[in-house]
C-alpha cells in the first residue's frame, strides 16, 4: 500500500523562524590577559534567541504544556546565568587551539562535536583543535554537569563566541604583521594569508594577538550558510585510540601504588556490615595487602583484582538488613498503588478509554562498572574517575574526608558508558573513604554483580491514562505517572531547584521540575494533564537514557493507537492529523513514508508507530515486529529471544546538527535501549535484593536481538536555529512504536513492561553470598 497522506484538519502553527534575526547579532566575549592569545565567553549568558518562545502567538486546542516552551535543557542552561562561568579558548605556540570542556564524555562524542564547533569558527581542521575534559572547577558551579542531553545545547554559543573572538584577534595581528587590510586576509587551517601570498601561522601570531589586559569585546558569529564543518559527518576523534586499545579508562591508569581494590557487599540491597569474623585470615590470603571494614562493606586491596575477588568471597561478616529488606516486585507495586494520584476528569464525557501499565525495575549498569582511583593524604585528596558532576563529587568527597573542597583534586576521566548512572559518583566516594582508611592509594572497582545488584536502577513505575473521546475529537487526555523516587544527585538538584521557579507554574520540587520540563503530550487532546507522584522507598535510582519519557511514551502511544481505533483511523494518519506543530507533523509524515507505513505484513508480524517530543526536538519511529512462534521461540544459549524487531525507521529533528554521524550513533544506541526496555531486560526484586547478577541474567540487547535493518534519518534542514539534545532521544519514540507493533501483531495489550518480565527466569540465580560469582576455569574450551 502506498504511503498514506493525512489531510490536516486545522492549520498548524509553525515555530517562529529565528534564523534571520540571529545573523547579524553580536555577542560579548572576553579577551584574557595572557602571554598567548586566550579568549573566553560565559556559559549560560549567550543564547541565540530567548529561551521562552512566544507561546501566546500559538493558538492550540490544548494549552501549551510547560515543557513545550521551557524544557529541561533550558533549566540546565539557565541555571548558570547568575554566575560567571568562563570557558576559554587558547591558541598555542605550536599552532594548535586548545579547549578544556567542562563536561564529561562517556561516549556521546561531545569532544568531537566541540572540536567541530571551534574549527568552524576559526576555519581550522577539527584535528587542529585539542579538546580535553576539565578537572572539577567549583567556579563553574552548575555548568560542569552533563545530564539531560544538555551539553551541546548549553555550550554551542559560548564556545563559538570565544572561538570567533580568537579568530578576529589573529586576523588583526596578521594584518599588522603583513601590513594588509584585515578584509583581504583569509584564514585556512591555521594559516592566515594575504593577497600577496605571504602567510603566517597561528603559532607565530598568538603572542602578538595576546591581550595585554583583560577586557570585554564584541564579536559577530559566522553565518550558518557559510558553515563547512558543522553539519558534515565526522568520525570520532578517538576512533583510532579505541580500536587499538590505547584509549585509557579509569582502571587502565597506572597511578603509583594504586592497587586493585574491591568491596565485599551485603546480600541485601544497601545492607552494611555489622562485624567481620575473619579479617586476619583475609589479610593473609595470596596477593592481599589491606583489608578494612568501611561503611558499605569490607574493602580488600590486593595485587590483582582476581585476588581481591577471591578474598571478598571469603569474607565472613554479619550484615545489617538492607533498605528494602524482605520486599519484592509485587510488594513494591502495592506501595506504588497507594501513592497513585486520582484522575480528575470524570468518566463519561463521550467514550472513556483507560489504561494502567506497570514498568518494572531496569538496570542502567554500563559495561565499565563503577570505578575510581583515590589517593588520600593527610590534608588533600586526588581522585580519578568518570563523573558527570565532578563539582558535586569534589564537594561530597571533601565533606566525607573532613578537608576543604579545594584540597580535593578531581580528574575527570572518559567513562565506559554512562546512561545516567555517572551523574553519580558512588565509587569515587567509596574510593576516598577506603584510601583514607588504608592510608594508601586505591584503584576501586565494583564487580559486575555489585554493579547489577547494588547499583542504581531505573525506578519501577506505573502509568495510568484516561482519555475521553467525543466523536472525532479527544476531549481530555490525562496521564498519572507514579514512580519509585528517582534520585537526583546534589549537582543536578542544585542546578534544577535554582531555576525551578522559572518554569511556568513555578516552585516545584526537583523531580516535579524535571517532570514538568520534559514531558509533552504532543497531540491536540483537549484538556491535557500530566502529573507525577513519587514514592520514596530507599532504592538506588537514577535516570537511564532519560527518567520518565520511555515509560510514559510507551503508555501514551499505546493509548493513542486505541483512540485512533476508536475513531476508526489509521495509527499514522491519526498522529499526523492530531500532532500539534507543523515541524512535528513533518517528522511523522517522513517516518511513515521512509518506513513504508501500511505495507502488507505477514500474519503474526506488524508495524507500529510512535512519536516523541523533547530536548527541543521531535522524533518518530516506525518499527516492524515479528511475533511468530518460530521467531519468539528461537533457542539461544543463556539468552532471551522473544518477539524480534526486524526493522526500525527513525526520523529525528534535533535542530541544528553539528555532526550527523554522531547524532545517528546516539539514536542507534537509544533504539537498542528501547528494545531492551520493552522486550527483554528488567531486574527482579526478591527478598530485598535484585536477582540479576550479570549479563547472563540481565538481558540487554545483543546481536541476536538487534534489528537487522535500521534506517536513521536526521533532518538536516530543521527550522530550529540551535542544536537540541541527542543523548537520550532515540529511546522513547522507539519504545512506543514497539509496544504498538506488539498489539497490532498479537491483538494483546500488555499491562506491564518489559514483556517478558513475568516469564520463568531462563537461568538459575547466583547466590548473594558469597557476593561474586567465581570465574570459570574452562575458558580454553570455548575458543573459536
Amino acid at each position: 500500500m502506498p504511503t498514506h497522506r493525512a489531510t490536516t484538519t486545522r492549520s498548524r502553527p509553525t515555530e517562529p523562524a529565528h534564523r534571520a534575526d540571529v545573523r547579524r547579532r553580536s555577542f560579548l566575549g572576553l579577551l584574557v590577559a595572557a602571554p598567548v592569545l586566550v579568549t573566553a565567553a560565559e556559559i549560560g549568558r549567550q543564547t541565540i534567541f530567548d529561551s521562552v518562545p512566544d507561546a501566546s502567538a500559538v493558538a492550540l486546542p490544548s494549552a501549551p504544556q510547560p515543557a513545550e516552551v521551557y524544557d529541561l535543557l533550558d533549566v540546565i542552561r539557565d541555571s548558570a546565568r547568575p554566575t560567571a562561568n568562563l570557558i576559554t579558548v587558547k591558541v598555542n605556540k605550536d599552532g594548535t587551539v586548545s579547549f578544556a570542556l567542562p563536561r564529561s564524555d562517556n561516549g556521546q562524542g561531545i569532544i568531537t562535536s566541540t572540536q567541530m564547533i571551534i574549527a568552524e569558527e576559526m576555519n581550522l581542521d577539527p584535528d587542529q583543535v585539542v579538546v580535553t575534559l576539565a578537572d572539577a572547577r567549583p567556579e563553574l558551579v552548575f555548568n560542569q554537569l552533563t545530564g539531560g542531553s544538555s551539553t551541546t545545547f548549553s555550550t554551542y554559543t559560548p564556545i563559538r563566541v570565544a572561538a570567533a573572538l580568537a579568530q578576529g584577534r589573529l586576523l588583526g595581528a596578521a594584518a599588522n604583521e603583513l601590513d594588509q587590510d584585515i578584509s583581504v586576509l583569509t584564514s585556512r587551517q591555521g594559516l592566515i594569508t594575504g593577497p600577496n601570498g605571504k602567510s603566517l601561522p597561528f603559532g607565530e601570531l598568538t603572542a602578538k594577538a595576546a591581550a595585554p589586559i583583560t577586557e570585554a569585546a564584541n564579536v559577530v558569529l559566522k553565518d550558518r550558510e557559510k558553515f563547512t564543518v558543522i553539519g558534515k559527518n565526522r568520525t570520532k576523534s578517538d576512533a583510532l585510540a579505541m580500536v587499538t586499545g590505547k584509549k585509557k579508562f579509569t582502571t587502565d591508569l597506572k597511578i603509583p601504588d594504586a592497587l586493585p581494590t574491591v568491596i565485599c557487599r551485603a546480600p541485601d540491597l544497601n545492607g552494611f556490615p555489622r562485624s567481620v569474623g575473619n579479617l586476619g585470615a583475609i589479610r593473609a590470603m595470596p596477593g592481599v595487602t589491606d583489608v578494612v571494614k568501611v561503611g558499605n562493606g569490607v574493602a580488600v586491596r590486593a595485587k590483582t583484582y582476581g585476588q581481591c575477588i577471591d578474598a571478598v568471597n571469603a569474607v565472613e561478616a554479619t550484615w545489617a538488613a538492607g533498605t528494602v529488606s524482605g520486599e519484592d516486585d509485587e510488594s513494591v507495586l502495592r506501595k506504588l498503588r497507594r501513592g497513585e494520584l486520582p484522575l480528575a476528569v470524570p468518566k463519561g464525557v463521550g467514550k472513556t478509554l483507560e489504561s494502567d501499565t506497570v514498568f518494572y525495575f531496569r538496570s542502567n549498569s554500563s559495561l565499565e562498572t563503577n570505578c575510581a582511583i583515590a589517593d588520600v593524604r593527610a590534608n588533600s585528596a586526588t581522585i580519578w574517575g568518570p563523573a558527570k558532576s565532578p563539582i558535586a563529587a569534589q564537594n561530597e568527597i571533601a565533606k566525607k574526608l573532613g578537608i576543604p573542597q579545594n584540597a580535593v583534586t578531581f580528574h575527570v576521566m572518559e567513562g565506559g558508558g554512562s546512561f545516567g548512572r555517572k551523574l553519580f559518583f558512588d565509587a569515587a566516594l567509596e574510593a576516598a573513604e577506603v584510601s583514607k582508611a588504608m592510608g594508601k592509594p586505591v584503584k576501586l572497582m565494583w564487580t559486575r554483580s555489585d554493579d547489577s545488584r547494588q547499583g542504581r536502577v531505573h525506578p519501577m513505575a506505573t502509568t495510568r491514562i484516561r482519555a475521553n473521546v467525543a466523536g472525532d475529537a479527544v476531549a481530555s487526555f490525562e496521564i498519572r505517572h507514579t514512580s519509585v523516587a528517582t534520585e537526583t544527585n546534589p549537582g543536578l538538584s542544585e542546578a534544577i531547584t535554582a531555576t525551578a521557579q522559572k518554569a511556568p507554574g513555578g516552585n516545584l520540587t526537583v523531580s516535579e521540575s524535571i517532570w514538568e520540563t520534559t514531558q509533552v503530550t504532543p497531540y491536540n487532546f483537549g484538556v491535557s494533564t500530566r502529573f507525577l507522584s513519587e514514592v520514596d522507598m530507599r532504592f538506588n535510582t537514577s535516570s537511564m537514557r532519560n527518567i520518565y519519557s520511555p515509560d510514559v511514551a510507551t503508555a501514551r502511544e499505546l493509548m493513542v493507537d486505541r483512540i485512533a481505533a476508536q475513531m476508526g483511523k489509521d495509527p499514522y494518519e491519526f498522529r499526523s492529523e492530531f500532532t500539534k506543530l507543523e515541524r512535528w507533523k513533518k517528522v511523522v509524515d517522513r517516518a511513515a513514508q521512509e518506513g513504508d507505513w501500511g505495507k502488507s505484513m505477514a500474519d503474526g508480524t506488524a508495524q507500529g508507530i510512535g512519536m516523541h517530543v523533547e530536548y527541543k526536538g521531535v522524533a518518530c519511529a516506525v518499527v516492524e515486529l515479528d511475533c511468530r512462534p518460530e521467531t519468539v521461540n528461537r533457542e539461544i544459549r543463556q539468552a532471551r529471544t522473544g518477539p524480534r524487531v526486524t526493522k526500525v525507521t527513525y526520523v529525528v529533528d534535533v535542530g541544528l546538527v553539528i555532526n550527523p554521524r554522531g547524532v545517528r550513533a546516539q539514536m542507534m544506541g537509544g533504539i537498542n535501549d528501547a528494545l531492551a526496555m520493552t522486550l527483554t531486560s528488567s531486574l527482579h526484586l526478591t527478598d530485598g535484593h535484585f536477582v540479576e547478577a550479570s549479563w547472563d541474567n540481565y538481558f540487554y540487547t545483543r546481536q541476536w536481538n538487534t534489528p537487522p535493518e535500521m534506517n536513521i534519518i536526521v533532518v538536516d534542514d530543521s527550522d530550529a536555529p540551535e542544536p537540541g539534545g541527542v543523548g537520550e532521544f532515540g529511546v522513547a519514540a522507539t519504545c512506543g512504536a514497539i509496544a504498538c507493533a506488539y498489539v497490532r501483531a498479537t491483538g494483546k495489550t500488555p499491562t506491564y513492561f518489559p514483556l517478558d518480565h513475568k516469564d520463568p527466569l531462563p537461568f538459575t540465580p547466583y547466590p548473594t553470598s558469597p557476593p561474586v560469582p567465581p570465574s570459570p576455569v574452562n575458558g580454553l574450551e570455548t575458543t573459536f
Binding site: V243, T251, Y305, G306, G416, P708, M710, G779, L780, T782
Partner: protein, 159 residues
C-alpha cells in the same frame, strides 16, 4: 611463587603469580596491558576477548597456570602486527571507517571476536552474514550493534 612464561603480543613475558589467578588479571594488573577489558569476569560479556594461538578466548576464565610457555596470547594491542603490511588490521580499519565505537569499552573485545569469527567462517567455507554475526555474544551496552555488523562485513572482505 610459581613463575609463568608465555608469549604476549609477540614478546616472551615472565610473571610470578599463583597458578589460579585468571589470565585477564595477569595481563592487566601485573603486565600492564590494558586493552582487554573487564565486564563480567565469568565468560559472559566478552569484553576481555583476546586470541590464544590465533583463536578467540576469554582470559577472565582461564587460570594462568593453564597457559603453556609456547602459547601465544594476542590482545588488541598486538592485533595489527598479525596482519601483513599497513599499520592496522583490516578489521580495525573497518571499525574506524564505520565509526563503530561509542564509549569504546567493549570494542577491543568486539574486534578480537570479529576477527576470529571471520577466520572461522573462512575456514569452514561459510559466508560472514547476519547469521554468523549473531553467533557473537559480545555485549555493547552503548548499542553499536548495527555498525558492528557493517564493519565486520567490510573487514571480512579485506581479510
Amino acid at each position: 611463587m610459581p613463575n609463568h612464561s608465555f608469549k604476549l603480543n609477540g614478546e616472551t613475558v615472565d610473571v610470578e603469580v599463583e597458578d589460579d589467578v585468571r589470565l585477564l588479571w595477569v595481563i592487566r594488573d601485573l603486565l600492564g596491558v590494558t586493552g582487554p577489558k573487564y565486564g563480567c569476569g565469568i565468560n559472559v560479556c566478552k569484553a576481555c576477548t583476546s586470541h590464544i594461538n590465533g583463536k578467540a578466548f576469554n582470559p577472565c576464565s582461564v587460570p594462568v597456570g593453564a597457559i603453556k610457555p609456547t602459547d601465544e596470547v594476542t590482545t588488541i594491542e598486538g592485533l595489527a602486527d598479525t596482519a601483513p603490511g599497513g599499520d592496522l588490521h583490516p578489521m580495525q580499519q573497518a571499525w574506524i571507517d564505520n565509526d563503530v565505537a561509542q564509549c569504546g569499552y567493549c570494542q577491543p573485545g568486539q574486534i578480537m571476536a570479529a576477527v576470529a569469527k571471520v577466520r572461522q567462517c573462512q575456514a569452514e567455507g561459510r559466508e560472514v552474514d547476519d547469521a554468523a554475526i549473531e553467533e557473537l555474544r559480545n555485549i555493547c551496552r552503548c548499542g553499536t550493534y548495527n555498525r558492528i555488523r557493517e564493519a565486520i562485513k567490510a573487514g571480512a572482505e579485506k581479510m
